[in-house]
């Protein structure tokens, strides 16, 4: 597996399901992220925290998946929250005017304290 491939890892604290995402999210693998989130939502998870700390790059395909997943969460009275948006990745959200489209917290610790 290449260094930039999309990686996902779930940790369930009971209250919150944390998904650490790493690598590059683009049109070739964005659907994998969506599938993962849909599985978590349909298994009844109510709060999903996506940690972007290890994400290297993302394209508009990733934004779309996040929007679709957020809709799905709303339908399930669940929520998807983002954290760990740093540097270039944060800039991509800002450049795309999409930072306000999601609930975003600072670090994972900040997010967990607020959730």
């Amino acid at each position: 597996m290449s260094k930039t491939a999309l990686k996902m890892q779930d940790t369930d604290t009971g209250e919150v399901c944390i998904v650490s995402i790493g690598g590059r999210i683009d049109s070739s693998n964005a659907v994998d992220l969506l599938d993962r989130l849909n599985v978590l939502l349909s298994s009844g998870k109510k709060t999903i925290l996506l940690d972007f700390k290890e994400v290297l790059y993302l394209t508009s395909a990733a934004f779309r998946v996040l929007l679709v997943a957020t809709d799905e969460a709303e339908r399930n009275t669940a929520r998807i929250v983002l954290c760990g948006l740093l540097g270039q990745v944060r800039e991509l959200f800002e450049m795309g005017g999409l930072l306000e489209a999601f609930t975003v917290h600072g670090s994972r610790e900040d997010a967990l304290a607020k959730l």
Binding site: S60, R64, D71, M95, L98, A101
Partner: protein
Amino acid sequence: MSIDGPALLVVDDNDDNRYTLTRRLTREGYTNLTTATNGREALDLLQSKPFDLILLDIMMPDMNGYEVLERMKAGGELHNIPVIMISALSEIDSVIRCIELGAEDYLPKPFNPTLLRARVGASLEKKRLRDDVKASLARLEQEMDAARKLQLGMLPLYFPACTPEQPVEIHALMETARQVGGDLYDFFYASERLFCFLVGDVSGKGAAAAMFMARTRSLVRMAMQLWRKTSGDPVSPAHVVESVNHELCQNNRDRMFVTLFFGVLDTKTGVVTYINAGHLAPCLLHASGSIEPINEKPAMPLAVRADTVYQERTVTLLPGDAVFVFSDGVTEAMNAAEELYGNERLQAELCATSALSSEEMVQAIKAKVDLFSGDAPQSDDVTMLALRWRPVGANCKSATPGADQYFEAKQSMPLPQTTHIVIRNDAEELAALTTAMERVGAEHDIPEKSLFQLQVALDEMVSNVIKYAWPEGGTHDIDIHITVRDEGVAVEIIDDGRMFDPRDAPKRDKLLPGQRPLAGGVGVQMTKKLVDRIGYARIGNRNHTTLTKLCVLNPAALGREKT
């Protein structure tokens, strides 16, 4: 397949074999049969009409089975016709060779009716499926082609002339990576005075993106029309964008979204009111050749949230200023080494086009992007739109830089202030350039050090032109435009000599044909250190080299207040 059933060709030099085979095939219901007695005859027949299957003997006089196979599989239409080899069981090595050459199957002699039925049937079935797939693909391609024409038909391809009443010089292009694309551009006069222009990019690709693009484009046009009909107020870009956004959010479970830069230019005042909904920052290109991004924090793209409130922002153009709006297919164009064309390269190359008409600007950048990507496949739609505001008093003709009319156009504009001199390709003429630079320096109070560095750089570049641009000799003119703005000084050198891009200077050991060697190379390297930017464009048969030196000028010396 014809109505006579599948067309079969039986090739065998043995009369008995041909007779037996045709009789058995007829008994199986195959009546559309043709026979040949050797390879040459078979190839002639294959050229004259279409066949669905060939039964081919290996050992024949006058071109054997191998040769026929080789010729058929070498390419062209015949490549797709399945071939069953006819052979004695003892010839199994030959059969293997034929399969390797591309034969579909083989039929042992003496002929067994069951095997014959099975193998001919299977080969024909495969051929039919392949033909079906091909036909479906062709149909799909036709559909996509029609869609493409429809889509491109939505984009304005007629660019209204720049006139004193409509003083906007506009040009745009879109090139889709696939048959249909998700980019869009549009422009139109919303009233006598207001010129609207927009560039957008739908997330995703293919047919879905194309349909979303079409929806967006139509909604913007409709919203503008409705606004004009129902409201006496001046057009509010924010309201237009908000209603389009609201509409796009309906029934959008796939969560497509579209980034959009929507601008409205007041052609009387030069004020552009704009909304940037998540789109890349367009470039504001001053007539002097300096450039800046129109870089507010972008708002949310369209179709993300129905209740988004969009804030209008404004930027004021000076006469002759241009706006260049583009999609990420430009800056994310990739070359074979997977490098991106990038924003910096775009800005540098836009600088070099500052003197061009909108059409020339778009074409120059397109050419630069194509040159950069080389053979690498285009992965995203490429869209560019350039507009230049040329209000009354400024020359509206598209001018080739260096032409007198262009100079007059620049002169007739209140700002920026341009000095134009023409020198011959003679080293003694450099003194005239130095004098001109000193005069400009004094007039505008240019800091001594900046002026000195720019002069040295200019001297290097112009000397280089004089020395190398015309190997055949003769007398030639070099046009030099010195433009002063409040952020610095830009000097454009225009010559009709051999092509030379000073930015290629480090690769001096790998000169391309037509490139001229550098004045020791050191000169150009030094020039690069002395000025802040070197721009270059080859337009028509001329080199346009622009040196820009950024420096803080005394605003009073510019004769106007700072904006």
